[in-house]
């Protein structure tokens, strides 16, 4: 009895992690974390949670060792992830004691490692899901391998009735997760596997502390909306990004895309470009009239304007949509074939049984009777039986796992690709929004500085006031009113444009507040027009900086996406090839087994009397 408690004591003792043997053998005997012998299972997780992350624990005399070993483990994992002879798989699943939560054991190590040398980490579905979502946020231009969809309420209800169905789902998820991990590491952008988050996901020290991993860098440095980050390097801490307008309704983890197609957005961009030309012309006219220079785009030599979306990208989107359509149909077809195969197997089972019964009924045990018919029928029955076994094996081990599921996953890949396209679309709109802002600022400037001779002075309209024109005096009234209410108000009034792109008035307020807050730091709010003008000039400079930044980002993002998609399409061919070859191979295996089966029956029939 004492020994049992000792064991538990030791297992729950954080110093256990200080043991150097953990490096080579983090989970001895690969036994389950739950002690079946434990007299009190429920409080078992909480101590674990507390002891994570291990760095926090100080009471252990080996605190430094602990840190070292933890670092060592994560270094080891990083090294493993980069090595080509890594083997990784989801090997088991189990229910957390007392709950319906299922955890999946990921086992990985070098090729040739024994089970003891391999690292095991247990993750639940929701952890896989949030891991993937964070990867999406960290690398919006990368296609992250998909994981299976959360099962629907219906399938959940079915589960509670039908236990075998749940087992079926868990098995299927184990395969999906294995594929996810393998493709993440071997067949995706190297940034994914090199990310600290990936290492943490596979680190047993973070096993019960996934939330900690999410509250640490790199995830913690990400802005709330991915539109407010450098799209190519999301952890870029450039302060300007905070100033970018964010757009409502953007959620990178959702695959739904209600935006117009890239082609249409491209048309909008062309219109925007016309407006830009118009504005520039106006600015030029203004500048010559007022003899002053307005802050324009930073015209350094590296600056390439972002005019339109390259046709290649537009084509990619189109192709993705077509592929999804075709794959959706293929998915349905696969499900139907699997169903038909299942029914056929059922028929074969029934036939085999009946033939067997048949042969028994026909069998005549009186001496000297020729029972060749009975024997032939029995042989026939057993041939059909092994036929059914072959088909069953083909269906369960091949067709479902090597075709149906990968094809479904392929479809999910296209959906993933569409998510990055959606991100791109939002970035384009953000880009357009910035130009619109610039136009507004220009308009304001043009309005404020209507008399070029007196820069810095309020426009003197008094000499016009007595004129006998109703319309003229109305206009003067308006201008005066506008001056009174201030620029911010004017900005707010001209917000109709934003509405189209989901940027509500709410956003505008926030954005201009943020922008003016920045401005406020730089210069005092003078009541006179001169200081107002200076403020506007500063705002314009900021907007110009943002445009420059975004233009650079857009160009980078476009290049990055095209690169990603080209890579994706290239990999797709390989993936399809592998799938098709696997299909043909497993088909052949089935055919050969069945052919041999019937050949054997035929030979038996030949030699039979």
């Amino acid at each position: 009895m004492g020994d049992v408690f000792n064991d538990i004591e030791q297992d729950n003792n954080p110093s256990f992690y200080g043991d150097t043997s953990i490096l080579a053998n983090p989970y001895p005997h690969t036994r389950s974390q739950q002690q079946p012998a434990s007299p009190v299972p429920p409080p078992q997780h909480s101590p674990r949670l507390q002891q994570q992350p291990p760095q926090v624990r100080e009471q252990s005399p080996d605190a430094t060792d602990l840190v070292n070993s933890t670092l060592g483990l994560s270094n080891k994992i990083s090294a493993l992830l980069d090595s080509s002879d890594l083997e990784i798989a989801v090997v088991a699943s189990e229910h957390l004691v007392g709950t319906s939560v299922v955890v999946y054991s990921i086992q990985f190590g070098r090729k040739g490692d024994s089970d003891d040398q391999r690292i095991i980490v247990k993750r639940r579905y929701s952890e896989f899901k949030s891991f993937r979502e964070q990867l999406l946020r960290l690398f919006p231009t990368v296609i992250v391998p998909p994981i299976p969809e959360k099962h629907t309420l219906l399938s959940y209800l079915v589960n509670s009735i039908d236990n075998s169905h749940e087992i079926h789902i868990i098995d299927s998820r184990k395969r999906y997760f294995t594929r996810f991990l393998r493709e993440l590491i071997f067949a995706s952008d190297p940034r994914l596997r090199q990310s600290a988050l990936t290492v943490k996901f596979l680190d047993p020290n973070y096993e019960m502390a996934w939330d900690n991993a999410l509250s640490e860098p790199p995830v913690s440095v990400l802005p709330k909306s991915m539109l407010l980050a450098n799209p190519v390097d999301t952890t870029d801490q450039n302060g300007l990004y905070v100033l970018l307008p964010s757009i409502n309704g953007f959620d990178i983890s959702k695959s739904s895309d209600n935006m117009p197609s890239l082609r249409r957005i491209n048309d909008d961009l062309a219109k925007l470009w016309e407006q830009i030309q118009l504005m520039e012309a106006k600015r030029h006219e203004f500048e010559t009239r007022s003899k002053m220079t307005l802050p324009a785009n930073s015209e350094d030599e590296n600056f390439t304007p972002f005019h339109n979306i390259p046709p290649e990208l537009v084509k990619f989107e189109n192709e993705f949509h077509q592929s999804i359509k075709a794959l959706d149909d293929l998915d349905k077809l696969n499900n139907r074939s699997v169903k038909n195969y299942k029914q056929m197997i059922h028929n074969l089972i029934e036939l085999g049984g009946n033939l067997n019964n048949f042969s028994l009924q026909v069998y005549d045990n009186s001496p000297g009777v020729d029972n060749s018919l009975s024997a032939a029928i029995e042989k026939f029955g057993s041939a059909l039986d092994s036929n059914f076994l072959n088909f069953e094996g083909f269906l369960q081990d091949r067709l479902i796992t090597e075709w149906q599921e990968p094809v479904h996953q392929m479809n999910q890949y296209f959906y993933s690709a569409l998510i990055s396209i959606k991100f791109y679309k939002y970035k384009v709109i953000q880009y357009k929004l910035l130009y619109k802002l610039k136009f507004q600022k220009y308009q304001e400037m043009f309005g404020t500085v209507s008399v070029p001779e007196a820069p810095g002075k309020p426009a003197d309209l008094d000499h016009l006031e007595g004129l006998p024109s109703a319309s003229l005096s109305q206009a003067i009234q308006k201008i005066k009113h506008a001056k009174d209410t201030g620029q911010a108000g004017q900005l707010r009034q001209k917000k109709s444009w934003y509405g189209i792109f989901g940027g509500g008035s709410n956003y505008n307020k926030q954005f201009s507040k943020r922008l003016s807050a920045v401005e406020a730091e730089e210069g005092e709010n003078g009541a006179d027009v001169g200081s107002k003008f200076i403020q506007m000039e500063r705002e314009l400079t900021k907007v110009a900086q943002l445009i420059a930044l975004t233009t650079r980002d857009m160009n980078n993002l476009t290049d990055e996406l095209i690169k990603t998609y080209r890579q994706f399409i290239k990999q797709l061919e390989r993936k399809w090839l592998e799938l098709m070859i696997a299909y043909l191979r497993s088909g052949k295996q089935l055919f050969e087994a069945n052919r041999d089966n019937f050949t054997e029956l035929r030979e038996w029939l030949e030699q039979a009397p």
Binding site: L330, N334, N354, L584, F598, L605
Partner: protein, 592 residues
Amino acid sequence: MNLSDQFTSIQLDRDDDDNRQSETREEAIEEESGSVAASDKSKDEDGRDSEDGDSDGDLLIPATTKDAPPQYEPVDPAPTSPELLSKSASPPHSSEVAEPTATKNDIPKISPSPELAVQQEESPVPPATDFSKYHELYTLESSVQQPIKDMDSSSKPFMNYLIVTKTNNPLVLKLNHLPVPEESDGNQVPDVVELSTRRRYGDFRYLHDSLSKDYPTLVIPPLPSKSNLKYLTGDTFSNAFIKKRLHSLNTFIRFITNHKILSQSSVFHLFISDLSDWNTFTKSLKLKDVEEQSGFGRMNEELADTFMNFMTPSKYKQENNKEILDISEKLKRLYENLVRLNRLFTKLNKKHNDLSFDYSQFSKQINKLSQVAASSDSNGAGTAAADSAMVNNFQVFAEALEYFADSWKNLHAYFDESFLVSLKNCAKYIVSLTNLINLQHNKRIDLQVLQDYHNKAQAELIAMGGTTSAASGAQGYQSQGLVGNTAQLIRDTLSTSASGSIGSASTDNKMAKVQSRINQLQHEIDIQTKLVNELTNNIVCEEYPNWDRFNKNEVKEAMVGMCDQQISFYQGLIDNWTDAEFKLLKRLDELN
């Protein structure tokens, strides 16, 4: 073959039949009017069997049974036996005395029939020759092939089947005016010749009906059903239908050639020979359309029910021959299993069809994917090469899948047109054999009735003799207590009719009458017992083993055929897919 439309010709046949039948029916009714002994059991056969005796078959019998070995007794007298039975089962008939005489006359008339036949036919084969040995001595193999759509004189289409026969059977050779070695002494076997002729379904039917008529004690293989319904819809010319029919016709012919008596029948020889004699023969003789009468078409669907009825032991008297019971039991089990198997295989085959459809859809879908890849072909110089390779990959795969779908469709067609037809045929042949057993059974019942009547008459005689009148009669009842109710009923009726006549005429006269009736009956019983025993014997020793052999062979052939089909199905797929795999692997190597 007369060239008038088959459909119409059958109609004519039927009309003819109906007329003749109503005549015979009337006769039967006349006979029965006075009759009290005609049991329900024998009534059915009255209509049919009595006709065998007095129809124009009288002409036919000597002609067609000429090949039947005289040693093989059950065959020759058999045609007459039902008539004899039914007639004798109605003793109070006015011509009751004459009838047995007529039957007696029938027997000698038929017994020398081979000689008669020989004299009539050009065949110089001496009557002493044992034709049953011909089956082992000479080969006779026929097969039905190459169905061709043809037009008859009224330009109605019909299917024509080529019948190819390889034989060295002297009977056939002679019929075809081919040289036959003089007096073959067993060692000298004539060369095998190949005969071929075209026959249509109606001819097969004619052959079947003739054989049924000539050999009522043998299992005559059933023909594929006429399918009048399909005839109307024009489905009779669909590929599947023709193949199925061809398969069944082949089984039909195979059964005949494997049967040692049927294979030597001259009707069959005429059938396989390309001679005008066949047409003359079929034209001049309208056979009663037995099949339509017995509802042959039902065989297919309601097979089970019909069969089960046959299998239910008669209420009148249980079959007590152990061997027959054994056979019946075996047949029943086999039949039930075949029906179940047929159902299961049909289900399985439906799945074959579904999956074949799935795979062709699958192939189409893959083609769509290749189109998507093709549409992105113009994407840019960098990806064009990869895309066209991808299109190619998809096409290779789609072709492989299409091949799978097609092969599966063929397998489905094979199951539908051959394997399942074989199973169905096996079941049908069981029904034919059961019909024969049923005939035997009914005859036994008739014999029982005769015997009952005989006993009754004897009891009557004793009663008239006076001394032990009531007591012995009662004892007679007691001793025959085993006999069922129906028998008692008959007996009672007889007894009253007899007692009615006792009152009016002189006892001596009556006693003499009764005595003569008893003698008559005794004679009948002797003949019948012999016939029935021979029939039973024939079933147990000849027809059942023959069928069993045939059935085993058919089942085996069906299985072997299916194996071959499956093997070639899989082998074809392996070859095709290996090829596709090779192409895809090559491309994968290029990528690496």
